[in-house]
Symmetry: C2
Subunit: 255 residues, 2 copies
């Protein structure tokens, strides 16, 4: 039975199975090893995420042995629960919306953002102590892109998100990861190492292009690898074709 990798976040997670998406790439990377489960909620900030986290994650603990109903007296208590291998927590792009512009209803003050991230980590660690919790900072913001592709009418001529604000939230996210001793992908910093990041990685100043998705995939896969979660180290589900004896294929399926 396969373990799970849960992707919990906002629209950048919800969209991650679109063309060239980082979620699909992770599912392909972990093919035959891990079930990648999508829990992306477009527009959500950490305040809302904290409200719904228990519901969003309900049912995501793999339960073995359900095929053999009634195998143990007493029922559920004897079943073996298997926690997810890892959960990515990828919020902040909405929290960082400015409080006096058109996306103000999604804004969360930075002190509360820090507190909410800690609370999400605690909730996950209480539920699944062995699970790797991986934070991802919000991406940088291309303000020109935000003005060209507004989500709603924006007569002010001012972007509802700025790169400076996203950077402050990204720094807060990195600080929370250090305090909670969990790994973090600093996407805000990483992307800005590349010349022309504004258009190369962001299709509307906020959401990812195919190249932007590739960076997220590579960074997340590398962090997971550093925590022992890679295709090379995880067992495959059922025999691989290369392990099947052409002279006696059925013998491979006996155990």
């Amino acid at each position: 039975m396969r373990p799970k990798l849960i992707l919990f976040g906002d629209s950048i997670t919800e969209e991650s199975f679109g063309e060239g998406g980082w979620g699909s790439a992770l599912a392909h990377h972990f093919s035959r090893k891990v079930d990648v489960v999508l829990r992306g909620y477009s527009g959500y900030n950490t305040r809302w995420a904290l409200k719904v986290a228990e519901r969003a994650l309900d049912g995501l603990q793999a339960e073995e042995g359900e095929g053999s109903a009634g195998s143990a007296p007493g029922g559920g208590g004897d079943r073996h629960h298997r926690p997810p291998l890892a959960v990515t927590v990828f919020f902040g792009a909405n929290d960082a919306s400015l409080s006096d512009r058109i996306s103000a209803f999604q804004h969360v003050p930075i002190a509360e953002y820090r507190h909410n991230l800690h609370a999400l980590i605690s909730l996950l660690k209480k539920r699944w102590p062995s699970t790797t919790v991986l934070l991802i900072t919000p991406p940088p913001i291309d303000e020109d892109g935000r003005l060209r592709h507004p989500f709603a009418e924006n007569p002010s001529g001012l972007p509802e998100r700025t790169n400076e604000s996203a950077g402050a939230y990204a720094n807060a996210c990195v600080a929370v990861a250090m305090e909670a001793n969990v790994p973090v992908v600093d996407l805000w910093s990483k992307m800005q190492l590349f010349l022309g990041w504004e258009k190369a990685f962001l299709r509307d100043g906020l959401h990812l292009t195919a190249d932007g998705n590739r960076i997220v995939f590579e960074e997340v896969a590398e962090k997971l690898r550093q925590h022992g979660l890679s295709p090379e180290t995880l067992p495959a589900d059922l025999p691989l074709l290369s392990e099947i004896d052409p002279l006696d294929p059925l013998r491979s399926f006996e155990n």
Copy 2:
């Protein structure tokens, strides 16, 4: 809690979360509605699939309420099980390997292929009576592509799969679907309606290009839609951004 769509098949399923893959496209199509679960086994034929089906599908019945452990006396018996919405069964490309060529160890005689498909449908229907079982025929074969991209040394100069053989298995698959009264996507026929299908849809004479993936996605999504499974009719997991009152966002999360 989200229901599942399970993709059970061979390499064309296992690869379906690769770049432009039909599995990813389904996951994106059903975003916020359905968890798409990948159970693709490269090289497997129906004989092997039947041997492993119980193990491959173990744990894939969603179980609600596990978050509230011990909420009901007696344990597991009181929990509410939720079967998958649908399972795609996509085998035949390996069964149709010719019995006297280099992939002979994967060959399954056509009468046994029919029998095995019926057995897989019965197993699924017994496990989950309400679940839609959707058969998919093997794709057509571009023999030139198979000779240019052999999986193993092939000194014979003869392809290990032919389009004629794939067509016979595709017809058998359609016949099984009619007999068992389950829907089927006749991919073998559908693809050959397009001029230049050999290179447009198949990258090595057997596996799918991006355009080939798109056809599988469109056909599967349309069949599921005909059986009531579409993004328009399925409920979303948690409130959509458009449903959240900007003046009082938290009220949306109260129920």
